[in-house]
Point group: C2
Chain length 124, copies 2
């Protein structure tokens, strides 16, 4: 099972990859057969290629993530609250909570993103 | 499906019930066959009686909850970050993220609490 420190490092790597606009660095955090359900309730992106395509598209919005409080970890799960800002619009903000489930190799096998229309401000 | 406002009201009711030390008010938020996995990775408490017993015990610690940021909602899920304080110890704090899954009647059918030893300060 990955340690707390390994899981926190993965979350920090996720945030840093958005800062750099590096979707491949995000995709590398995931296991080959991982699923990404973003937001929860939508069809999951499954597998490395689909996940890379999804994050490539996500980063084209200019989204930057800021952690809001400490990363919580429980066994092989991490949960973290963050806000999303967009370079082109100073007022736009989305509040999100993500959960990562890890395998024994420390790769993310399942990501779920919790947010909806009521968590968006200043968009559109 | 419950509305964003209904799900936020349930979360606020959960926090308020801890303030009052009213485990029955928490249990009333759950469907009769709901599960509570607190923390994630432990055996779930299943059903109204087990859930009431669990929250009765939880509240005996004097735990009070403070939301840390807005409640996120996605379809029939809510996710919320909070800190826990304890009346008997000014320094003790636990950082937690909970997820609630709701049924169509607006009752919680699944609760999962994400926190671990590294999210605890000043305890023991």
């Amino acid at each position: 099972m990955p340690s707390h420190e390994q899981m926190v490092a993965a979350v920090n790597g996720y945030v840093a990859a958005f800062d750099k606009g590096d979707p491949a660095a995000v995709a590398a955090l995931f296991a080959p057969d991982a699923t990404v359900e973003d937001p929860v309730g939508t069809d999951a992106h499954k597998g490395h290629d689909a996940i890379l395509a999804f994050y490539t598209m996500s980063m084209q919005t200019g989204a930057k993530l800021k952690l809001e409080g400490p990363v919580r970890t429980a066994t092989n799960y991490a949960a973290f609250a963050f806000s999303v800002s967009f370079g082109h619009s100073a007022d736009a903000r989305v509040d999100v909570i993500d959960t990562f489930k890890f395998n024994d190799e420390g790769k993310v096998v399942e990501m779920r993103a919790y947010f909806g229309p009521n968590n968006m401000q200043g968009l559109g």
